[in-house]
């Protein structure tokens, strides 16, 4: 699975928690969940739980703390997929 493919699968998960749909259109690796998408910490947890389900992976606390933007999240997802 390449990074473009991961973004395509992330988008519908993230869209559930985003009010500003324009920001969503421009979703890229630099997009910050809190600063750009204005997602709160509680919904960030929901996104991580949804990512676990979508990709069939388990994300630990340390990894979760790094998932603040799209690029970092893809890194974690790729790492976890390889570990399986």
């Amino acid at each position: 699975m390449d990074r473009e493919e991961i973004i395509a699968r992330l988008k519908p998960i993230v869209s559930t928690y985003v009010e500003d749909k324009d920001q969503l259109e421009n979703l890229n690796e630099a997009t910050d969940f809190i600063k750009d998408l204005r997602i709160n910490s509680a919904n960030l947890v929901d996104i991580v739980l949804d990512v676990e389900e979508e990709f069939g992976i388990v994300i630990d606390n340390l990894s979760m703390e790094k998932m603040l933007n799209v690029g970092a999240s893809i890194d974690i997802i790729e790492t976890k997929l390889v570990q399986q």
Partner: protein, 148 residues
């Protein structure tokens, strides 16, 4: 943590403490009671001449007994953990019956998940007749600092 320690850690006082006693608490659920004091200030205006407990207060009561007590228990019982503060982040509640001044209610909360510091619970409030008066889902973040 035992029930007394949890109650002692609640950050509320009158007139905004809506927990009288905790009946049961473990890693999956919390059960407690509260009797609505007829002298509470909001009854004077909600509603004029016909006092009934506001839905937001019923929600707060379920949050204090369910979410907050359970959050304090879970954070305080974790290995090396300190009892945290619970910041409310979402609610989805349905209301079925009114609760009048002086009524005693029982709140039952079940943990759905507690991950990455977020606690999500299903909650329900039951009146003295055994009827469910309101129920739904409440979630919050368990933090080390208040308002953060």
């Amino acid at each position: 943590m035992n029930k007394e320690e949890i109650l002692a850690h609640l950050p509320y006082s009158k007139p905004f403490l809506f927990v009288d006693e905790l009946l049961e608490i473990d890693e999956n659920r919390a059960i407690g009671t509260y009797t609505f004091d007829a002298g509470l200030d909001f009854y004077q205006g909600h509603f004029k001449d016909s006092p009934v407990t506001p839905g937001v207060i019923l929600t707060e009561t379920m949050a204090q007994i369910g979410l907050v007590c359970l959050g304090i228990y879970l954070s305080g019982s974790a290995e090396g953990g300190m009892p945290g503060h619970v910041m409310l982040t979402s609610t989805a509640i349905d209301f079925m019956k009114p609760v009048f001044p002086g009524e005693k209610v029982r709140v039952e909360a079940e943990k759905v998940y507690f991950r990455f510091k977020k606690l999500n619970c299903t909650v329900q409030m039951i009146n003295a007749a055994g009827d469910v008066v309101c129920k739904g889902t409440i979630a919050g973040m368990v933090t080390n600092k208040m308002n953060a």
